[in-house]
């Protein structure tokens, strides 16, 4: 075997820079290699050391997050996190970004984001049972926004609907800071038995390395590197680096993997996601502390004359790498062939701790594994803490609109308007276990064949994070905790997707550090550890960064689904109570931003983690005891918007008989819930609150088709529904 690389370009300083590596990083590579890398080796190092794969700017801070708990079976570091949900069942979940590709090609970018996160989950032996997403778009009036919304929504639906996994929830915000960098964060939750979980680690020298799924093409080459750089005006030219998805193949891959997983033939399995064959083989071999030898001649290709460099770096979708027990190849091949998928033994494990790659009779790469997997420098990037904001100046409030006008303004705003236009394009019901789909606080998905359910939600309030990263980070976790508690379920663990600007700017790094600090504090206080996650940096265009957006995906479990409550008024004569104290904090509120149109929004509402936990436990207890008819968490838009959201679904209104100012009605104080209590249980409820030492305030009673505040306002729900429902179709220039 010769070691010629005659057709490959020489490695120059320019080529190194084009691969996104700094001169210092290149010197480290040379040191690890003991020589200069060739072109292919440079490509492999560049993707493994990209921000996207190596977390080099974020690792130092990620280590500070709490990742343990009695419920945790597998924390960060695997394809997805795994938690114990009792009775031998496990929930496996993760959230991941596909921001950069979705901006360049919204349909395929979003679709492959969904496909990728589902593979992360079913790689571990789980059957995906719920998809969620967290989306951020530019200003509604920005000329690209409707096009991006339409493309992303149909991409998410196109993939999830076809594969047959319900999309049950999510969140959407619009803000000018996302004009050049939309955020598409996809979350998938799957179910497995705790004794049938599959990991990436490859062990057993001589074991066959097997490639399954789709063929490899030239799509997505350097996707991971693209996701690790800022955009500029020429970013549309990066379209060829966006992968193309085929959900049909993924459905077949899912079924074939599930079938093989029912046997004991698999030693390790890993999705070929970012950085494709390179990262999957490096990670599997490194985790198993072995070496790997690959023969690229065996890789199924869909294009001719692909170079080794292209095969190693392709991000073609719907592919998996697995290590089988020796001798089980035929049995596995039969399954994949029956499902019409490629199956090829492309290599074997060795004891060298090196990655050896051969192609067309030549040795094209020979690299030490540990530096590839783990040797990227860890940067302690300089940061400056975000300055605290002065309290809000509310002299303008004297000229505010009346309550009714303010409420209508908010309910028809981009932040509060109904997302029906989006969620009706997602199949939210397939698999027959969706107990509560989009539009609630957390979605509820039954664990198939049992009487328990998963509660799942995605949350973050970027404007809070911008004003005070630490408080915003706390609030995001607290809101996920509240949304799950509001269904009656017990919050168990989170995944996160940390979207920020360029970490090389100290103020952006300050946002990152602050948000993680707050997130960690909240996770610890609420016993709500982080089990998986993803970091997306460089969400900047021409030097302008996005709002810090650390999206949280929360998962909880409801032991008895018959106890579940919704967030809507379903009956008249329910007594409505606020759980938690209302101070009237208007800083960073939607009211301050949208109604008062203030430039300086002041500080976000403080989070009292002790109260969050206490109120969450109280609400879950009340639901478990059958005392509550409906529960809704209070967040964006404060009490009055929360009341409107409870009244709109079934057009059952309410009459409120206490008085308050705008700060009372629209303040976004944390740790609060609205609950509806039937006439025969309100005494027990009040007693329970007194015993628990939880502050409750009776607001009024449900009934009628209006939202009425005595002596102040009456709004027809029909009229409000018009404004609330029409905003999205109007934006998208269509009718419902």
């Amino acid at each position: 075997m010769s070691q010629g690389h005659n057709h490959e370009p020489p490695v120059t300083d320019e080529l190194v820079a084009e691969h996104g590596l700094t001169p210092d990083e290149y010197d480290m590579i040379v040191e690890h290699m003991g020589r200069e890398p060739n072109f292919t080796e440079l490509g492999v190092f560049s993707v493994m050391w990209s921000e996207h794969c190596s977390y080099k700017s974020s690792r130092k801070w990620l280590k500070k997050l709490p990742v343990d708990g009695p419920q945790v079976i597998q924390g960060p570091g695997e394809n997805a996190g795994v938690i114990d949900i009792g009775d031998g069942d496990a929930a496996i979940f993760k959230m991941e970004s596909h921001n950069h590709p979705s901006f360049i090609e919204p349909y395929q970018g979003a679709a492959t984001g969904v496909g990728g996160i589902m593979r992360d989950v079913f790689t571990m032996g789980a059957r995906p049972v719920a998809n969620l997403n967290a989306l951020r778009f530019g200003a509604p009036e920005h000329h690209k926004t409707p096009h991006l919304v339409a493309g992303v929504v149909s991409g998410i639906g196109g993939y999830g609907n076809c594969i047959g996994v319900p999309t049950v929830g999510g969140e959407v915000n619009f803000d000018a800071s996302y004009n050049g960098n939309i955020l598409v964060n996809a979350m998938c939750v799957g179910l497995a038995r705790t004794d049938k979980i599959f990991y990436a680690a490859a062990t057993g020298v001589g074991s066959p390395v097997v490639y399954v799924g789709s063929k490899t093409g030239r799509d997505g080459i350097h996707g991971a590197t693209m996701a690790s750089a800022e955009f500029d005006d020429a970013s549309d030219e990066k379209r060829p680096t966006v992968q193309v998805g085929d959900p049909f193949t993924e459905k077949l891959l899912l079924e074939a993997c599930q079938e093989l997983m029912a046997s004991d033939a698999i030693i390790g399995i890993q999705d070929m996601g970012a950085a494709g064959l390179t990262s999957s083989s490096v990670e599997m071999a490194d985790k198993g502390n072995v070496g790997i030898r690959l023969n690229l001649d065996k890789v199924p290709c869909r294009e001719t004359h692909m170079t080794g460099y292209e095969m190693l770096l392709s991000e073609s979708q719907e592919r998996m790498l697995m290590v089988l027990k020796p001798g089980r190849e035929d049995e596995a091949a039969e399954i994949f062939h029956r499902w019409g998928l490629d199956f090829a033994v492309v290599g074997e494990l060795t004891d060298t701790n090196r990655m050896i790659v051969e192609h067309e009779g030549r040795l094209i790469a020979d690299m030490p594994l540990r530096p590839l997997a783990d040797g990227a420098p860890e940067y302690d990037r300089p940061f400056v803490a975000t300055p605290k904001h002065a309290p809000l100046d509310l002299t303008a409030d004297a000229h505010a609109q009346d309550l009714a006008t303010s409420l209508m303004n908010l309910m028809g705003s981009s932040e509060m308007a109904s997302r029906r236009w989006i969620w009706e394009q997602y199949d939210s019901m397939v698999m027959g276990d969706t107990l509560a789909g989009p539009g609630g606080d957390a979605a509820l998905v039954r664990v198939h064949g049992t009487n328990k359910a998963l509660a799942v939600t995605t949350d973050v309030t970027p404007r809070y994070c911008l004003a005070d990263p630490a408080m915003g980070g706390q609030q995001a976790v607290a809101e996920a905790y509240r949304n799950i508690s509001a269904t009656g379920a017990t919050p168990l663990a989170i995944t996160n997707c940390l979207n920020f600007g360029n970490p090389e700017r100290p103020e952006i790094m300050g946002q990152f550090v602050g948000c993680l600090d707050g997130m960690g504090a909240a996770c610890r206080a609420l016993d709500f550890p982080v089990v998986s996650g993803n970091v997306s940096l460089y969400n900047e265009t021409n030097g302008r960064g996005i709002m810090p957006t650390p999206a949280i995906g929360g998962v909880g479990v409801l032991a008895d689904l018959d106890k579940a409550v919704g967030n809507a008024f379903r009956h008249s004569d329910l007594n409505i109570y606020i759980v938690g104290e209302t101070a009237g904090h208007l800083g960073c509120s939607l009211y301050a931003r949208n109604v008062l149109a203030l430039d300086a929004l002041g500080p976000p509402p403080p989070v009292n983690l002790e109260h969050e936990r206490h109120h969450g436990e109280f609400v879950r207890g009340v639901i478990g005891d059958g005392l509550a008819a409906c529960v809704h968490d209070v967040s964006d838009g404060g009490l009055l918007c929360a009341l409107a959201e409870m009244a709109l679904p079934h057009k059952i209104g309410c009459t409120v008989d206490i008085e308050g100012d705008h700060a009372f009605w629209f303040g976004e104080d944390q740790g609060r819930y609205l609950v509806g209590i039937a006439p025969d249980t309100f005494e027990s409820f009040e007693t329970a609150a007194a015993q628990a030492g939880v502050v409750i305030t009776r607001l009024g009673i449900t009934g009628g088709a209006e939202l009425t505040i005595s002596h102040t306002m009456t709004i027809s729900l029909e009229e409000m529904a018009q404004i609330h429902e029409n905003w999205f179709p109007d934006l998208m220039n269509t009718t419902l």
Binding site: N161, S428, M431, G432, T434
Partner: protein, 221 residues
């Protein structure tokens, strides 16, 4: 009653409908599309999903898969056939039912509850419903816009082959005559876009779909 559910590559409501059949009292045989024979059965279900990834045209490749020859033969011999969503598309593609399912009026996938009128109650599938009863059953499709030429539509009306229509103002896809489901002239082959299996128990928000499975069970046993 014995039932068979055909599983095409890309079917994704096969399990859901099997769950409903089992709840109604019969555990169906799951039959892979590559089979050339069917077990003895009184009901064949073509489930929802994206058979063959909807490539070429929804249902067209499934209509030409090996098992469909046997399905068509059984239908002609009188076995009841239920095609739901993609299954309805397959039934039109294989010629057991007339017309075609085009892309939705708004060109978007739509998943939501729809109000349906049961316009015919003398079929094995609908005899437990009241005549003209309004029921709620969800849809989830991108190509549910039923279309047929005028002669066919007149014939469907004249022969009483329209079984479900979307209630007034609730047509989610632009279907001609608000058609949600039709039968063949015998009343034993039903194709419908809405998913009765998704609303067959109270925990899922309602059980209007349950009576279809109970009804089939009762009449074909």
């Amino acid at each position: 009653m014995r039932a068979a559910v055909i599983v095409f590559p890309g079917s994704n409501c096969d399990r859901d409908v099997a769950v409903c059949l089992e709840a109604a009292g019969t555990k169906p045989d799951m039959v892979w599309h590559g089979e050339t024979s069917l077990p003895a059965c009184d009901l064949i279900v073509l489930p929802g999903g994206f058979s063959y990834g909807d490539y070429l045209r929804c249902g067209s490749m499934a209509a030409n898969s090996p098992v469909m020859r046997e399905v068509v033969a059984r239908a002609h011999a009188g076995t009841a056939v239920l095609g739901i969503c993609n299954g309805f598309q397959v039934l039109t593609e294989c010629g057991l039912l007339p017309g075609v399912l085009m892309r939705n009026r708004d060109l978007n996938f739509v998943c939501r509850n729809t109000r349906l009128n049961v316009t015919r109650t003398d079929t094995p599938f609908t005899h437990l419903y009241e005549a003209d009863e309004e029921i709620i059953i969800p849809v989830a499709h991108n190509e549910g816009n039923y279309f047929a030429d005028d002669d066919t539509l007149v014939r469907l009306q004249g022969e009483n082959q329209i079984v479900f229509t979307y209630a007034s103002g609730d047509n989610p896809n632009g279907a001609s005559l608000d058609i949600a489901g039709i039968t063949d002239p015998t009343g034993r082959v039903l194709g419908m876009m809405p998913h009765p299996e998704r609303r067959a128990e109270k925990a899922l928000g309602g059980a209007d779909g349950r009576r279809m499975f109970d009804g089939v069970m009762e009449m074909l046993s």
